[in-house]
């Protein structure tokens, strides 16, 4: 026997738990399910994120080869090749492999990354980028095969297995390669056996890439290998001293930091939403435990009278909570795994967020994460059980033995100090800055607000129900409002689950609705032209100058504006910012850019740029500042003047917009990535695409799509909706959990009041009236929950909109309230509360009144 006279024996504990659960299985199941849902969501989101991130870094690693580290250009324009021998000769460097890297498209349909390498160098630094020629070896060659015409051939290309599959081609076939505005014929000389499965990559000789693709004199990167045992930090410092402004040192760590930063905020936010679901689960576990304890007050009192110590009762209730939490968490892990697998195959690794396009990651099981989510689930259930357990232990046995009702004195006003303190703490946290780019205090603020809101429930219920004390709705209504007024803590317990889930759901809905509306009106501003030309596969060099000229002569055009959209690496810790060069009129930038505030007057001779809102969050530049762009072009200075800030929901990592002529002056680059067309009034838009394609090279014509601005808007909103698909899903689950909570709470409370109903029947209250009373109680409670939930939800939504969103995604929006949704939620909640109360009441009243009263032994 584990316990002495003062405790409960193990057998007794088991017997009591089993007995309670046999009597009320639904409540236990629901509490476990609430925990399971929270754990499942959290674990699934974590698994998906980890798998997607792993897949994404695999893709990055593939293109980078397995070099120790690399010197990388800050823009796709590259850096001067004269840097390469300097790097190669630096002491501590064993080998240096120069690389030309650019986006390409094969046969006008398969986009991929094209690398130009020197096989003699790459063989030493990045052997996995080496091609394997497919040639019969009947004789031996006296020189390395990489030195034969197969590898150095000016028309030879090596393709990864995935690229061959996508093209349905084999070695020996001829393909058309479009890159940097050129299209060239190549023969597939062989495969790239070192490239990871599923990765599309093409490799040609570096001299061919430079010469045939107009990349003379420039490199995008140099892959480097340390001498064995070299003092790596010292070598890196020596290299850093050599670097021009348009190059930077990149190693796996910075690369991973970048990859991580790219989607971290999005992933952490999903994690947080999942944790909120777990928190809701905790509240539901609390209400289930609290009710179960309340119902067994007399049972516990009897045990106390029989000599069981307080500690043993506390332990008993906590064990119950732990078992519920453990079962729920275990179920949740299984469901999470299942959910993650399903989400990966249906939504992709970014859950529709658009961060990792084109990859279908493999699910990676994370034992550590599984353990921590199990722990969190257990913890939620335990914390939910602590208060009820203390309550059970502290009750005076003599009073509790007689009275199974609410122990609180109805004449005393419920406490408000703790709730107010929590709400205040929430408000303070909302004003604290982000930590490491993550809105951690924002989430703490949400948690405080939630706890404070729930804590204020007894008071709020009292305040809201007080006016009803003096209004008469007939017997049922009167009884209902009196009951609720008189038993505020029971009401609060019933309410807390509802309020927690409703407020979170409302907060998310308000945020998403506000965001969507802001994006919609932004799209109208940012898409002034009639038709937009886009090229498949992020080819930022698609339109060569001669093609641009020919396109401009197509009849029916009012105007055609070409844009350059190209990545620019401003900081080694951040993903590349976007450089946008378009036909901005410096005198009137707001014609193309949705400016926030006005554009500043441009000082004489200064080159103006306009930063997007996210850029000002990520980098220390404000309107009126000067900044240096890491460009190296014809003219020496790359100092530019920040003339204004504009709203950009399209690129979370920030955008620098500049006038096209300034861009050409700084870089000499005349290749453009997309175009916007305005038609003459009455021009035939249907025949335009064909007329346009006719003047393009065939390899480009096949990749260009013509999208009317109206469709583009629709498409953008679709993408928006898709990226919030998971949010919608989580919301729906939160609503369901909330409603389930309502049902569980009511049925439990109703069953606990059988005696009361018996008494009421005895004094002549009709069965119908009691049912009516219960329905009214449900509706009243539901209404209080709706008012509190919506109010709290709007407060939390302001934290989401003004704290969490700007801090993680760097954009702001205007609050819009989804009134239709409010109404729907209100009706659904009130109806559900009333309905479940009604159903529970019918069940409770099905027995006869006399037996019910006799229970009062």
């Amino acid at each position: 026997m584990a316990a002495d006279m003062c405790g409960l024996s193990g057998v007794a504990t088991r017997w009591m738990i089993a007995g309670e659960w046999r009597a009320h299985p639904a409540r236990v199941i629901l509490a476990a399910l609430a925990i399971a849902v929270g754990v499942a969501l959290g674990f699934a989101v974590h698994l998906i994120n980890a798998s997607a991130l792993n897949e994404f870094s695999r893709a990055v690693r593939t293109v980078n080869g397995d070099a120790d580290f690399q010197v990388h250009a800050r823009t796709p324009l590259g850096f001067e090749e004269a840097l390469y021998p300097k790097l190669a000769r630096t002491p501590g460097i064993a080998a240096a492999s120069p690389v030309v890297e650019l986006p390409a498209s094969i046969d006008g349909k398969v986009p991929l990354t094209l690398l130009g390498i020197d096989p003699f160098r790459a063989g030493l630094v990045t052997p996995n980028l080496m091609g394997r020629p497919v040639a019969a070896e009947t004789t031996q060659t006296a020189a390395p095969p990489s030195a034969t015409d197969n590898a150095l051939g000016e028309t030879s290309i090596f393709l990864s297995q995935a690229a061959l599959l996508a093209l349905n081609k084999k070695p020996g076939d001829e393909i058309q390669v479009s890159a940097a505005g050129q299209t060239l014929a190549f023969t597939i000389a062989g495969t790239l056996p070192g490239v990871a499965e599923g990765q599309r990559l093409a490799v040609v000789d570096i001299a061919t890439a430079q010469w045939r693709l107009n990349r003379l004199g420039r490199l995008q990167r140099v892959d480097l290998k340390f001498v064995e045992g070299a003092d790596e930090p010292r070598v890196r410092n020596a290299l850093a001293a050599l670097l021009p402004r348009d190059a930077e040192i990149v190693n796996e760590t910075t690369q991973e930091r970048r990859t991580d930063a790219l989607s971290r905020a999005y992933r952490v936010n999903l994690d947080m939403v999942a944790l909120m679901a777990l928190l809701t689960g905790g509240f539901l576990a609390f209400s289930a435990q609290a009710l179960s304890v309340a119902r067994r007050r007399s049972q516990f009192a009897l045990l106390r009278v029989l000599g069981v110590q307080r500690r043993a009762l506390l332990f008993q209730v906590l064990v119950e909570g732990a078992v519920v939490g453990g079962i729920g968490a275990a179920l949740g892990l299984g469901a999470g795994l299942f959910l993650a697998q399903g989400a990966l195959s249906f939504l992709g690794g970014d859950l529709g967020g658009g961060y990792f396009s084109g990859t279908r990651p493999q699910l990676i099981f994370a034992p550590g994460a599984a353990l921590s989510f199990f722990g969190l689930g257990l913890l939620a259930a335990l914390i939910g059980s602590v208060l009820p357990a203390r309550q059970a232990a502290q009750a005076q046995p003599a009073i509790a033995l007689k009275d199974a009702g609410d122990a609180a004195d109805p004449r005393r006003a419920p406490g408000w100090r703790i709730a107010l303190a929590l709400l205040l703490a929430g408000a303070v946290c909302a004003f604290l800055p982000a930590i490491g780019g993550l809105p951690l205090f924002g989430y703490i603020s949400v948690a405080f607000l939630l706890a404070g809101g729930v804590g204020a429930m007894p008071l709020l219920a009292r305040v809201l129900l007080t006016p009803l004390q003096h209004v008469t709705f007939g017997v049922s209504g009167h009884l209902a409002s009196k009951h609720l007024w008189g038993a505020p803590s029971q009401a609060a317990i019933a309410l807390c689950g509802i309020v927690a889930s409703t407020s979170l759901m409302i907060a998310m809905a308000v945020m998403v609705w506000s965001f969507r509306n802001s994006v919609d009106s932004w799209l109208v501003q940012i898409l002034p032209a009639d038709i937009y030309l886009r090229v498949e596969g992020d080819d930022y060099n698609a339109f060569a100058p001669d093609v641009q000229q020919r396109m401009a002569t197509v009849p029916g055009l009012q105007s055609i504006h070409f844009r350059k959209v190209t990545p620019l690496r401003l900081s080694p810790d951040q993903p590349p910012i976007t450089l946008l060069a378009e036909d901005i009129d410096p005198a009137n930038p707001s014609a193309l850019l949705p400016l926030i505030g006005s554009s500043r007057p441009i000082p004489d001779g200064a080159i103006p740029v306009w930063l997007s809102e996210p850029a000002t969050w990520l980098y220390p530049y404000r309107a009126g500042d000067y900044m240096d762009l890491p460009l190296s072009g014809a003219s020496g200075s790359t100092r530019v003047f920040v003339a204004g800030i504009w709203r950009d929901y399209g690129r979370q990592q920030g955008t620098v917009a500049m006038a096209s002529p300034d861009y050409v002056r700084l870089t000499g680059d005349r290749l453009r990535s997309d175009a916007a067309i305005s038609l003459k009034p009455g021009a035939d838009s249907a025949s335009l695409p064909d007329a346009m394609r006719a003047v393009m090279p065939p390899s480009l014509a096949g990749r260009v799509s013509f999208v009317p601005s109206r469709d583009l808007r629709k498409l953008s909103l679709q993408i928006f909706d898709r990226s919030f698909a998971v949010t919608y899903l989580l919301e729906a689950i939160a609503i369901l959990v909330g409603l389930a909570g309502v049902a569980a709470t009511f049925s439990a409370q109703t069953l606990a009041r059988t005696k009361e109903f018996g008494m009421l029947r005895h004094i002549g209250v009709l069965k119908r009236q009691i049912v009516g009373m219960l329905a009214a109680e449900g509706a009243l409670l539901g209404s209080v929950g709706v008012v509190a939930g919506i109010g709290l939800g709007i407060a939390i939504s302001q934290v989401l909109i003004h704290v969490i969103n700007p801090q993680s995604f760097h954009w702001t929006m205007e609050t819009r309230l989804p009134f239709v949704l409010f109404a729907t939620v209100a009706v659904a909640l009130v109806a559900a509360s009333a309905g479940t109360a009604l159903i529970a009441g019918r069940r409770a009243l099905s027995g006869d009144a006399i037996r019910a009263v006799r229970e009062d032994w």
């Binding site: 003699f120 006296a142 990489s146 015409d149 570096i206």
Partner: protein, 359 residues
């Protein structure tokens, strides 16, 4: 005549143009008789020719009285790269190099190699004098005529100086050396025998001082091999009395000599040119390579007709396993070894025994 030489032509094969425009191929200079070699200019590179090499082999005596063989070779090849390619990376000239150490105690060759396209100062060969750089490997000649080299890698490193003790030995007809029945199948060829070697050999991180004698072969050409040739045997020996002998034969698939030649300079400096009929190699003993399954005639009788007399030497290897397998780096399998003859030391090279060398 050296191992990788002929096959270099591989690199030069014209790429079949798929593009609408036809590539502009290089015009290779032709090897002609009657060209007078001039020094130091001809110690330097001849980039207008297709292939060229600086080939040093020799014997080193360690301080503890042992003998080891070594080889340091730099090759240059002009490829068929489109001459319009303006890229600084255009592989118009490729440099590559082999180094090997033959130590009987090791029982097999240690070897290493380098390859790079010429450019950026990382790989280059001067046209003014002997001055070749290939990554971290170098071969240079100073104003006094002394040459120095650094070559090697993980397993060993050679830092050697070579001081000439004899004048340049012009092979063939005043440096015009026929390689086949057609006059165009020829190279410009000179040797520097009896080089006095001093320097260090580094192994396992330990530097050891060495002294010895070596042989430099310099050859450049644009058209080399007769059709039907699969490989060759080559030998070069420094005699103790100051004499020097170079002899080669080019074999067909049946093992018969398609062409042969050489030269002998006696201790007094009198040079005898050897015609195809003056040189005969006769295998005496073969060594079977357990790694590649190849049989090499590592011991041979070399007969050379010198005027009315025929001299015969028995060539014996320093040790049998001097096979060089450079397939890992994409090169050929051949046998390149230190060897002795009565009264002299030198090198024997056997190619095309594993598989025919591809042209």
């Amino acid at each position: 005549m050296r191992a990788l030489k002929w096959a270099l032509a591989l690199i030069l094969l014209a790429t079949i143009g798929h593009a609408a425009d036809t590539p502009v191929l290089p015009n290779y200079a032709e090897v002609r008789p009657g060209v007078t070699l001039s020094f130091p200019r001809d110690h330097g590179a001849h980039p207008e020719f297709r292939t060229e090499w600086w080939y040093i082999t020799g014997w080193l005596d360690t301080e503890d009285g042992r003998s080891v063989g070594f080889q340091v070779t730099f090759f240059r090849t002009r490829t068929s790269t489109d001459q319009r390619n303006d890229s600084a990376f255009a592989p118009k000239q490729i440099l590559f190099a082999h180094a090997a150490l033959s130590d009987p105690q090791t029982g097999h060759l240690l070897h290493d190699q380098r390859i790079a396209r010429e450019g950026f100062g990382l790989a280059q060969a001067s046209m003014a004098d002997m001055d070749v750089t290939l990554n971290d490997w170098t071969l240079k000649r100073d104003a006094n005529g002394r040459m120095t080299t650094h070559a090697g890698g993980k397993d060993f490193a050679l830092d050697l100086g070579f001081t000439p003790t004899q004048p340049v030995m012009l092979e063939g007809e005043e440096g015009y050396s026929r390689k086949g029945p057609l006059p165009a199948q020829a190279s410009h060829y000179y040797s520097l025998p009896h080089l006095l070697v001093s320097g260090t050999v580094t192994r396992n991180g330990r530097k050891a001082a060495v002294k010895g004698t070596a042989w430099l072969d310099r050859e450049w050409s644009s058209a080399y091999l007769a059709p039907g040739a699969v490989g060759w045997d080559w030998a070069g020996f420094n005699f103790d009395d100051g004499g020097a002998l170079m002899a080669f034969r080019i074999r067909d698939a049946q093992g018969q000599a398609l062409w042969a030649g050489g030269s002998y300079r006696d201790a007094k400096g009198a040079l005898t040119h050897l015609a195809p009929g003056d040189v005969a190699f006769a295998p005496v003993r073969r060594w079977h390579s357990p790694r590649t399954g190849t049989d090499y005639p590592v011991e041979q009788n070399l007969s050379v007709r010198l005027g009315p007399a025929t001299k015969e030497w028995r060539i014996a290897p320093l040790f049998d396993d001097q096979e060089l397998d450079s397939r890992a780096g994409g090169g050929p399998v051949y046998w390149e070894g230190a060897a002795r003859v009565h009264g002299g030391r030198g090198y024997l090279e056997l190619t095309g025994y594993f598989k025919p060398l591809k042209m």
